[in-house]
């Protein structure tokens, strides 16, 4: 158990290292650099420009710049944003919990809906329940998130303006207020994610339901519901959990539309702003955070596998 965990950890850092190189060197291919953002295009003398470059170390070879950056990054220092003039890490420290909360809430709601419905659909395979569920899945998929979000926002402000907070409230400040500010964003994206989870659960369960041990359980008189929700689900779980982990990664990085609509100060919005402002240090740092989340979630799932599937355990 220890050894694979350590190997995992090592490869995890390896992946992050490669990602950081990619981000850094690809970023350097974009015309213009940090100095031009800080100094601005007009009115700066070449001397000023050069001085800023020197201060930032931009006159040094790229590899040296990278190593410097890397050296700082491992201590948690991603530099200073030329736009907000704050430490990038401080910005991220504020944005990260927002995105994390949004992703976790979405994961919970979409799982709570998606998994049971998926099992139900599998059990009634090709019956009307299954057909109805698959039809609604298509509908949920084909409506763009921003349409749903704006509609929800409009409805909420028209019919229940006091029920929801339109501005973000951190949970440390006011838990209820926080949940009221999260409700609409979560509602907006739960259904499409639930639809995917359902689809995944359905196919995993279908596969398991035709396995002989399911017949064994029925032949010995185990109740139908128990056969489905205990005997079958337990075996359908590994692929579903892998998928949920993947979804979580997507949610952490990909909810920028929702964060934008509902003005949530999360990572997605931070990324969007940073790109618009050519805020190189922030772009690099947020990208690294996304990569780290993905890698960590993947590693966690890998370590979870033996727990889910006894055949993966050593004796």
């Amino acid at each position: 158990m220890i050894r694979p965990a350590l190997t995992r950890l090592a490869s995890l850092f390896g992946v992050l290292l490669v990602v950081s190189m990619l981000v850094f060197f690809l970023g350097s291919l974009i015309p213009g650099d940090l100095a031009s953002v800080i100094v601005g295009h007009e009115g700066a003398t070449p001397e000023q420009f050069e001085r800023v470059r020197r201060e930032l170390g931009l006159d040094q070879p790229l590899i040296v710049q990278y190593l410097n950056w890397l050296g700082n990054a491992v201590t948690g220092d991603f530099g200073t944003s030329p736009i907000t003039a704050r430490e990038v890490s401080a910005d991220i420290a504020q944005q990260f919990p927002v995105s994390l909360e949004l992703a976790l809430l979405c994961l919970v709601t979409s799982t709570v809906i998606g998994v049971p419905v998926g099992i139900k659909a599998a059990v009634s395979n090709k019956g009307w329940v299954d057909a109805a569920m698959r039809a609604s899945l298509l509908v949920m998929f084909s409506v763009p998130v921003f349409v749903v979000g704006i509609l929800l926002l409009l409805f909420a402000s028209a019919f229940a303006p006091d029920l929801f907070n339109v501005t973000y409230v951190p949970w440390q400040q006011d838990l209820v207020g926080n949940l009221r500010s999260m409700a609409l964003p979560v509602a907006t994206i739960t259904l499409p994610f639930a639809a995917m989870t359902m689809q995944m659960t359905r196919s995993a369960t279908l596969e398991v339901l035709s396995d002989p041990y399911i017949t064994t359980a029925r032949a010995v008189g185990v109740k139908r519901r128990r056969v489905h929700y205990v005997h079958a689900l337990r075996n359908a779980l590994p692929p579903v959990v892998t998928f949920l982990g993947f979804q979580f990664g997507v949610m952490m990085g990909g909810l920028l539309v929702v964060e934008q609509i509902f003005s949530l100060p999360g990572l997605g919005r931070g990324m969007l702003d940073a790109i618009n402002n050519r805020d190189y240090p922030s772009v690099t740092a947020i990208t690294m955070v996304f990569a780290a989340v993905f890698v960590v979630v993947n590693a966690a799932i890998d370590l979870l596998y033996p727990v889910l599937d006894p055949r993966q355990r050593s004796r």
């Binding site: 158990m1 050894r3 694979p4 050593s314």
Partner: protein
């Protein structure tokens, strides 16, 4: 060491001290799985040698080693005295003289190609003139209609597919065909049909067979000589006639006893219990005689000293310190 018939010229196939170890990666240090551990036997031209043994004793690995699908860890496979892994054309030529028929008729044929194309495969040229005629001739040889060449594999029954697989093995006039459980997945009546077909083909074409099966009855029905394997080793080898009358190794005797006869008079009055326990893991085989953990006659010597495969009498080889003890103390029912 090699159980062959003394003065005969170079046998068709000589398997010398064949070893195949697989490294297994578990959690923890890598271990060696001793799938085949020093197996030797010969097959003469036109002869059938049957190999029996329980699941996991290394039969399929031997089959794959013999036809050159895998390279041995050590030891050699010789065809007419020449190594099949000799460099260049020679080795390849020798490997091509052997063909193999697998257990699963459905799985061994490409579902998207016609049966005719599959059968022609060993000829290595598909659209040359005369190939079609050759395919049809071979199909009728195995009792299929020549038109079957245009069918797809899934349009044939299991028995027909297995006949086609045999046709594919026979089309290049091989000197030896290795059958790895080729009748195991077939029904009783089909099994009998295929066994008869194999005997027929051998009588007509003089092809030698290495017939591998866990079913002693099927092996007895087709073989001139029988080789018994246990946990990667040969424990006994004898002519089929001699083996039917007098198996000497305690494991062979147990195999014979465990093979149920289609005769209620014998079976319902059977009292003795067979072997206890399971086959040990080939990752960690017992010291000395590998059968000792299940052998009712095991003694200290069996743990200390590995019994060599040695002649008990002309052409009959056994690897047991007390060869014959099982047959001597208990009469075999049903032996005719």
């Amino acid at each position: 060491m090699t159980p062959d018939r003394g003065a005969t010229p170079t046998p068709l196939l000589q398997v010398n001290d064949l070893v195949k170890h697989f490294p297994v990666r578990g959690r923890g240090p890598a271990q060696m799985l001793r799938a085949v551990d020093g197996v030797s036997f010969t097959v003469n031209a036109g002869e059938t040698v049957g190999v029996v043994g329980e699941s996991g004793c290394g039969k399929s690995t031997v089959a794959r080693l013999v036809v050159g699908l895998t390279k041995p860890t050590s030891g050699s496979v010789l065809v007419e005295g020449g190594d099949i892994w000799a460099r260049g054309k020679e080795g390849a030529e020798r490997r091509r003289r052997m063909q193999m028929v697998f257990q699963n008729p459905t799985g061994s044929m490409n579902p998207r190609r016609t049966v005719g194309d599959a059968v022609a495969e060993p000829l290595q040229v598909l659209r040359a003139p005369g190939i079609r005629a050759k395919v049809e001739e071979t199909l009728s040889l195995v009792g299929l209609k020549p038109e079957m060449a245009d069918r797809m594999p899934h349009e044939m029954s299991g028995g027909q597919q297995q006949r086609a697989a045999i046709a594919r093995a026979m089309i290049s006039n091989p000197a030896l065909v290795v059958h790895d459980e080729s009748v195991a997945s077939l029904d009783i009546s089909l099994q009998a049909q295929i066994l008869n077909l194999l005997v027929d083909l051998q009588d007509r074409l003089g092809t030698a067979y290495l017939f591998i099966s866990h079913d002693l009855a099927a092996v007895q029905a087709i073989s001139h000589r029988v080789v018994v394997m246990y946990l990667g080793e040969v424990v006994e080898s004898a002519t089929a006639v001699e083996f039917a009358a007098r198996p000497l190794h305690p494991y062979s005797v147990a195999l014979r006893r465990a093979a149920l006869l289609p005769d209620p008079e014998i079976e319902q009055s059977r009292v003795e219990v067979g072997l206890t326990g399971d086959v040990p893991s080939p990752l960690n085989p017992p010291s000395g005689c590998r059968f000792r953990t299940r052998c009712p006659y095991a003694e200290q010597k069996c743990a200390d000293e590995k019994p060599a495969l040695r002649p008990a009498q002309d052409g009959h080889y056994v690897a047991c310190h007390f060869a014959g003890i099982a047959t001597a103390t208990t009469a075999l029912e049903g032996a005719s």
